[in-house]
Symmetry: C2
Subunit: 465 residues, 2 copies
Amino acid sequence: MMEFFFKPKSVAVIGASSKPGKLGYVCLKNIINCDFSGDIYPVNPKAEEVQGIPAYHSLAEVPGEVDLAVFLISAKFAVKTMEVCAQKGVKAVIIQSMGFKEVGGEGKLIEEKIVDIARLNNIRVIGPNCSGIVSRNIATTIYPMEAEIPNGNVVLIGQSGLLAAGMASDIVVNQTLNINKVCSIGNKCDVNENDLLEYFGDDEQTEVISMYLENIADGRRLVKIAKKVAAKKPVIFLNGGRSTAGAKAAMSHTGSIASSAIVVNTAIRQTGMIAADDFTELMDFAKVFSTQPVPTGNRVAVVTAAGSVGVVVSDLCEAHGLVLPKLTAETIESLKDVFEENMPPDNPVDLYYSITKIGLNKTLETTLAGPLADPNIDAAILILAGFEYSMEPIEKKTVQKIAKQYGKPIVICMLIGHNKYKNIIREELGKDLPVFTSLYSGVKALSKLCEYGIRQHKRETLNEN
Amino acid sequence: MMEFFFKPKSVAVIGASSKPGKLGYVCLKNIINCDFSGDIYPVNPKAEEVQGIPAYHSLAEVPGEVDLAVFLISAKFAVKTMEVCAQKGVKAVIIQSMGFKEVGGEGKLIEEKIVDIARLNNIRVIGPNCSGIVSRNIATTIYPMEAEIPNGNVVLIGQSGLLAAGMASDIVVNQTLNINKVCSIGNKCDVNENDLLEYFGDDEQTEVISMYLENIADGRRLVKIAKKVAAKKPVIFLNGGRSTAGAKAAMSHTGSIASSAIVVNTAIRQTGMIAADDFTELMDFAKVFSTQPVPTGNRVAVVTAAGSVGVVVSDLCEAHGLVLPKLTAETIESLKDVFEENMPPDNPVDLYYSITKIGLNKTLETTLAGPLADPNIDAAILILAGFEYSMEPIEKKTVQKIAKQYGKPIVICMLIGHNKYKNIIREELGKDLPVFTSLYSGVKALSKLCEYGIRQHKRETLNEN
């Protein structure tokens, strides 16, 4: 059934508009612009055509079958339109309007009626109070997609409208994350996180799932499904409303009775999901998990030109369960030409002398590559600065090449420099690799990857025995 | 005595160079380019002039008195040069070379001899293994200062060479922080954090002190001095090497035996210093403390267009000791025109409807200003997105004007949008106000300011009674 949301053969846009700025305009435009190859039926009581496509005054007048109907209409017309969907045999409905359970009163009653109609007629409903779907195949979202949507390996599930749509727009335009789908579930009157987790858990293209929830629809089912899915692929989870203040805000946002921190933390522990603390982490962790190989250990090489950064990264690593082992004698021997005699290679690996001697690009080819080749090392943290001398490896994609060669994860932290160069590093290197602007965030993200890798490795070892 | 470092009448640059790229080139150039009005004496055994200034083959040949001598020479010449400094009556020395205690062996012995000469001759020494001073009045640092150094209210003290210099360069070029001085203290063979804390504690231009240390020179004295200074102005403190791994790295970086986390945490508790966890926080907290008024409470208004962001900020606020009170009836009444009837103003304050109705700029003038005027509110967290509609308030400096009007602190978090607009917000708004790229970092920084404000307010109340 979920296929009708993500691979419909035909879609009706109810409330489609020719007026730029209107949600019904943006949504239809996104559907036209993405790779959707099925039939598109704009529905608008006053239009003969919308954005160059023949329109229908009501859904009932649409000539062909409709797999998916997207509602961009006022809540007060929603029940009537659901009834028409039932008569028409629509399989899936996305309600991208607000004014339902989250506002209480009449809105809550309308939402209940919609659910009744859906159940009775075997229609699945996403929303209401959501911003729809973003994928290359079908994009119903309410933010303009200003670039081609990737066909990647990350799925975002968000119990939020604006933010999910805004994140999708950010990701698509800035090319920061290789998404496959962004799915906003809003009030989740019917389809909830469990349905989607199960679906994306089985979906081969989905390699990483990031999920924002303001309440848990069915805790027992979540634990059961998430356990199964998290054994196969990383599930990153941000829970909103776990505090008293947050729960109050969640109530007014999606009409949710939020789950307490205790319940959520227990669910996370039992399932092996990866907890994120804010939206930046939700994205950052997804970036790391979707671009970096999964290590089997937590032994990190820290590669930096500044000694003090090495010290603070070491502290943060220890606080986050990462260790900095000695490099092997072979690695030390292989690096000694680019180190001063009285300052032999160590971990943290100090690039300073080498950079002054042979430049950053060649330094990385030896002094980042060496530790990555070391059997004592599972992963690397590379510190870059936003100065002109950093541009050569960015242009030559040196870090990307080294990363590929050794098959070990790398995270980059960028602390200082000129905005001009920092922006280039963030934008160019950031397309391929995770680039952080604080040591804390880089170390934390890598620690999550290592934790996951160790757990998966244990699981596999147990299964083999 | 410390005045000879920061307000010398004459400076000798020992190892001054005409060769771009050399540290002795950059250092001299920085001194020439800053507002230093005293005599400059380049010393170079092979040059008659350096960068257009008459040079001397040795310090002994310098005709006038020398207040400050900066060493950019190999460690092996350092003892001999110190002896000449003593004969010459030099008052202050900054040793910006490496190869001393941090490399052990001979380097350690050289450093000990330097200290002996200094003590015997009443010379104060900063360094070695440091990158010098950055201030408008005197800039000896080893990174080129590519813009005018501010004459602001923040002092950074760093037991690190490259990073202190790199941060200074970042701050000066990007105009991110209103610094007064950056002072790199390296191995601190003589001048240490206590001397500088005491000096800057009494300095009226210094309103915020940010400090990075890899070890504590004298714990008892630090507690005594920091207690006194922290009662007058915020002292932000990042301690490197507090873990086993970090201590090992610190040993190889500055030859320091690092202090354990327990000792450092006790010192922080006893003195009222503000703990930072990494360099980004060291800068971020300085930004907040140096640009924002100090509140007397922890009651926060969260102002956002996205409900989910309000939920997660609420969670983070509660975790960091901030509360989200109800707005007063007067504030709610004053805002009701820009809210939907079924979604009255609340805290988090939801901007969505108002933005769609009157645009972001007018929305801020009502819906950011209203909560800030509210007597229930001590501070605000504003969430902005990097889209075109955010450019009007950036151009008009609307947030800055509102911030000034109400005298309450504001931090801005920017989560989503296009890099183009995000960069403008970060760079333009970031010159005046603290702009964060994660909710976690913004909430944490504000919580530190509120903690500090509440403590100071208690202190003042106690003093009055």
